[in-house]
Subunit: 345 residues, 2 copies
Amino acid sequence: MSQINIKKLAAALGLSTSTISRAFRNNSDINPLTKERILRMADELGYSPNLYASNLRDSKSKTIAIIIPEFGNNFFSQAIKGIEKQARYNGYHTLIYVTEDDVEQEASFIRSLCNGRVEGVVMSASGEGLKHSHLNLLREKGIPLVFFDRCYEDVEATCVTGNDYDSSYEATQHLVANGCKRIAYLVVNKSISIGKTRMQGYLDALKDADLTLDDNLIVECTNDRDEIYKAIKRLFEKTKPDGVFASVERLAMAMLRYCVDAKLDIPMDIKLICFSCLEIADVLNPPLSTVNQPAFEMGARAAEILFEALHNKQTITKKQQIQLSSSIIPRISTEKRIFDDNTET
Amino acid sequence: MSQINIKKLAAALGLSTSTISRAFRNNSDINPLTKERILRMADELGYSPNLYASNLRDSKSKTIAIIIPEFGNNFFSQAIKGIEKQARYNGYHTLIYVTEDDVEQEASFIRSLCNGRVEGVVMSASGEGLKHSHLNLLREKGIPLVFFDRCYEDVEATCVTGNDYDSSYEATQHLVANGCKRIAYLVVNKSISIGKTRMQGYLDALKDADLTLDDNLIVECTNDRDEIYKAIKRLFEKTKPDGVFASVERLAMAMLRYCVDAKLDIPMDIKLICFSCLEIADVLNPPLSTVNQPAFEMGARAAEILFEALHNKQTITKKQQIQLSSSIIPRISTEKRIFDDNTET
DNA sequence: CTGTTAGCGCATTCAC
DNA sequence: GTGAATGCGCTAACAG
């Protein structure tokens, strides 16, 4: 394949390469007719300016990266959608990397991006709050970073999250209001920022409702479907919760499965609410009360902030947290049922 | 930001740039000690070879693109996961583009990729079988293409799909076997390849079961949630199906909603099965029988084929269809219920 | 309005 | 085992 390049095109037209170049960028002045002639010929010969040559010259890549820990639930697909849309709007390309919750992988991705491949990074953190030296690389290279949903607290960067504390408080309160006294909290990892924040909301709500905390009611799970199920089973065998607040969608799904198997009726025997952005929560069995996270908006907002930084030639984003409101959508799974006075609905 | 480059690093070490270069590629011979010294200093100074310079020199980008029509359901997130994983395995980067079902957008993306940005493309087609001239660009540039799930029949490229015809036939047969006589088919667009193939399976199964086809039972929907609902409502008002086969997940969700509102019991009054790769079909109300598509595998396989082509320096993939088997997972939504003889389960 | 010139950062000859 | 020279394809200054 004799690749066409600017020189050949110039030769074919009897022009200089700079004129060709001019025809392809909109700023420099050029005779409209020449331009048209060039573009026509370019089209015919299948010429388009080589990306890497241009990028090398201007050290601009018009590309950002998304780094996410996993793809397991709707949250990230919707967030990606938001980011990609913003990128498109700004004329940027979007690279995507999935770490599978592996900080090493995350570091490796970051390293592979620091050679000019991207101008900015939007990411949701994979690890806990320990060694983030790989992120210093970004700063050294002047590549701005924006977190969404999960962040490293010690890294200087803007972080777009939901109002996790408030939502958790409210979700717990919602269970209390509907009659729950022994509320369990299901979490994947209670030591990372987001699990911690959500748990605090839960704890404070319990305290404010004068409910005593039973440590057995806090269940730390993994991401493995079977193990989650077992953890829930143990919870119910050991202690008898009457309400469950799941900090992650996947854990609530396991709850639904367990309740079917254990012949527990939701919401009669146990009430359930969880963080989720599942669009089909209303057709679950039973329709599931959710703390609805604005995933798309979170992604879009994070990207927006990144592009602002890029636009202003900032090499770093301001350390601040931007909270988008989640909303509690009560459905059957937390409905109050009254037996004692025959007014059962 | 005084960016570090190969020259500065060379100067700092009193070496030539070519020696530096050698230290970073593993083939050329270089004194191990020099190499180590270089790498150490590079690390210290935060140097890594500029991507665009290397790419320009070698005309290699180590990047592929994914182009998908939408992000609306699990299918595409799982497929992306499969593709990304393969890419990572092969040391490639992955660009992602979402067309929102717009062929113009698709064409525009393709054009923006043909300047060397990517070495290959994995895509699920956005449009119908009409004008695909934008794909010729890829061929002209020698960029191989692999379709997954949705393809353009007239384009020469490998296409990885499910066994849609067979699965549809079986799904329909499954409804028949469980007592349905008037089976509706819900489809988004019956004229694109995939809608067509699936419908053919449905039609043939009806014929082989000696059921007469009622055109009113074939419902063409859009992607809009409300409109889908209305279309289903019209279907039930006009005619009384006793089984529904939904060619797309989203349509089945609308069915579940409609049945709640219309107080129709699934599977008593109506049975339902659909294409889906929802992992939580078992906790829907009722647990939904599905034709389970191997989305992750489809993505992974498509990527694999692309990398094979890349590896063999093919500029085009063989025109062939590779079918991965879907499996029918019967759940409550299609269960046979027998009233007449008191053996109701 | 167009051509000439120089150089972005790197990797590969070819010498030594 | 290492250095000097060349060019990948493009664009921005500068001249005219």
